[in-house]
Amino acid sequence: MLTIREFDTRAGERFADGEIPGFVHLYVGEEAVGVGACAALEEDDYITSTHRGHGHCIAKGLDPKLMMSEIYGKRDGYCNGKGGSMHIADVDSEMLGANGIVGAGPPLGTGAALSISQKGEDRIALSFLGDGAVAQGQVHEAVNLASTWDLPVVFLIENNQYGEGTAVSDQHNAKNLSDTAAAYDIPGINVDGMDITAVNEAVTEARKRARNGEGPTLIEAETYRFHGHFEGDQELYRDEEEVEDWRKRDPIDTFSERLIERDELSEEELGEMREDIEMEIEDAIEYAKNADDPTPDEAYEDMFSQRVPDIDLFVEQANARADGGTRGGEF
């Protein structure tokens, strides 16, 4: 959780300073969901993520250095600079991608679970989705397929109270988003998404069901994003008081206080962890800043497993000089 907090806080700063192109959606405040969930998974379980995916990546074990390089658009990044913040992926870590389309992850999660089922593998898929995604038609199709076929997948709704800039209550008639599970005859569970152990227990149970051939579980974790929808968001849809109230439930503070109370962690140890992580993220930023940009011609790579002549033809045409002759010859 500390690594995610530091990574995203620093990424937000670097973005504000204009070092990071595009836009970034930060996970600050929601750390207990991603970390609690991924801690309940086995290493080779698949996840699909959302546009707010940095936390899921770190929780799944991705390297902050290569993540930061990707966010900076560098060749060393997880996607060679082609994906950026919204599309970080690492198939080797069974992380099937952050996703710029709200609601697109669950069909992919269902597909991964279908693969697992076809191959008879001993693992599961978990799809993170936001409260906004619950309103998407393709999410319904994905959950319906998975429940009809009892596929080994967990759908975890991160209800951070706003779908972009519109409150959950203005987007859904259901009182709890997990109530929609009843329509699929699967368990719908509501947990405190600011409590890492609550999330962890729910996902552990759901994973067990999935592996036992009992099909998917729909979990709603109530959480809150401390930053705007994207960095630079004016946040006209909520007031400071509401944000402050949720900040009092900061998942890192509450969990570390609990650990200290139980003598499982000391203030000194916590301080050391924070310092180590600050250094790790500072190193990641320095690494990313100094990493090589992709060369422009790399834009034409990776479309297919093999290069197609069409792309080469168009590039050749675009680069041809007037005196270079043409393929068509002369009159």
């Binding site: 698949y46 699909t48 990044g77 997880y78 996607c79 060679n80 600079g81 082609k82 994906g83 599309h87 992926a89 690492d90 198939v91 080797d92 099937l96 991608g97 996703n99 710029g100 389309i101 697109a104 669950p106 069909p107 992919l108 999660g109 269902t110 597909g111 991964a112 679970a113 279908l114 693969s115 697992i116 089922s117 076809q118 191959k119 898929a125 038609g137 393709q138 199709e141 994905a142 319906n144 397929l145 009809t148 790579e301 990776d302 479309m303 297919f304 497993s305 197609v308 002549p309 069409d310 033809l313 045409q317 043409t326 393929r327 068509g328 010859g329 002369e330 009159f331």
Partner: protein, 333 residues
């Protein structure tokens, strides 16, 4: 003329429908990672009887019936392909792609590129296109231009049983997403097909079905057969070369240019609506790469930018046929 691939090969006669079904059967037998997924492809044996008895041979997991959920089907196939399976999804009527376009254009087509080439996407999508059976506008469209246009997707649209077999096998074995467009009016068309269970036709290769010196007709799907008929009728007056384009993307620019260098005249015939259609891309490639070989304006044959109407008199009016191809040839020959 039989294609080059058929020479010195043992062949058997089969229809396009059989060629598609038998290719799927052979690939299901060959590779445990291959499975079929789609609406009514199993128990019901496919609405147009293409999957046929495969369900009975391979069972409900390898030939998987789905709810009516095109976005779910394409999304699940994409997720399965991303995790080591080799799904062959059937969209039934190609018009239904609209329901699944998000997963097609933003997930299936983009994942490899967005992930820096670090993922394979070995998925095949089958869909049936075309008018001619009174199925009306929402079950008769030819939408392959949209797919061929969108970067990251390959698209093939065979016009013969041999091409159907060779291209479908290449599609299933490819590590890239390939849309396989069938024309519903030529399922019963029969021809010689190699019996070799490894027979493939490379994605991106057109085929000269009939050689000629005067006019090149580049055709797709149903219009391949119609153009060959016209070429035979005109034999003696106009020497027509007929090319089955086979692959819409990648597109075989070389074969088009070579033919134009010889004939200098070209008709492009398909069932796409004309504006911005697949025919237009063939014309562009020709103009850009063989402009100095042209002796006459290139002619396009297709649907004149309408939907496919229901009533037989209306439907036959808008659908391109042999007469349209003949008129186009005679305008420039």
């Amino acid at each position: 003329m039989a294609s080059a691939e058929l020479e010195s090969q043992e062949t058997e006669t089969m229809t396009i429908r059989e060629a598609i079904r038998e290719t799927m059967r052979e690939e299901l037998n060959r590779d445990d990672d291959v499975f079929l997924i789609g609406e009514d492809i199993g128990v019901m044996e496919g609405v147009l009887d293409v999957t046929g008895d495969l369900y009975h041979d391979f069972g409900p997991e390898r030939v998987r019936d789905t709810p009516i959920s095109e976005a779910g089907i394409i999304g699940a196939a994409t997720g399965a392909a991303a995790t080591g399976s080799r799904p062959v999804a059937e969209l039934m009527f190609s018009d239904f792609i609209g329901v699944a376009m998000e997963q097609t254009m933003n997930q299936m087509a983009k994942m490899r590129y967005m992930f820096g080439g670090k993922i394979e996407m070995p998925v095949t999508v089958r869909a049936t296109e075309g008018g001619g059976m009174g199925a009306a506008s929402q079950h008769s469209g030819t939408v392959h231009t949209m797919i061929a246009h969108f970067p990251g997707l390959m698209a093939v649209a065979p016009g013969t049983p041999e091409a159907a077999k060779g291209l479908l096998r290449s599609a299933i074995r490819s590590d890239d997403p390939v849309f396989f467009f069938e024309n519903k009016m030529i399922y019963e068309q029969s021809g010689e097909v190699p019996v070799d269970e490894d027979f493939t036709i490379p994605l991106g290769e057109a085929n000269v079905e009939r050689e000629g010196d005067d006019v090149t007709v580049v055709a797709t799907q149903r219009l391949v057969g119609e153009s060959l008929t016209v070429a035979d009728e005109l034999d003696g007056d106009i020497d027509v070369e007929v090319i089955d384009l086979r692959s819409l993307y990648p597109l075989d620019t070389d074969t088009i240019v070579e033919s134009l260098d010889k004939t200098g005249r070209m008709v492009v015939a398909g069932e796409s609506p004309l504006s911005y259609g697949a025919q237009a891309e063939v014309v562009s490639r020709a103009v850009e790469n063989a402009f100095y070989s042209l002796d006459a304006p290139i002619q396009r044959v297709g649907v004149p930018d309408t939907h496919i109407p229901f009533g037989p008199s209306l439907e036959s009016e808008v659908l391109p046929d042999a007469d349209d191809v003949r008129n186009a040839i005679e305008r420039i020959a």
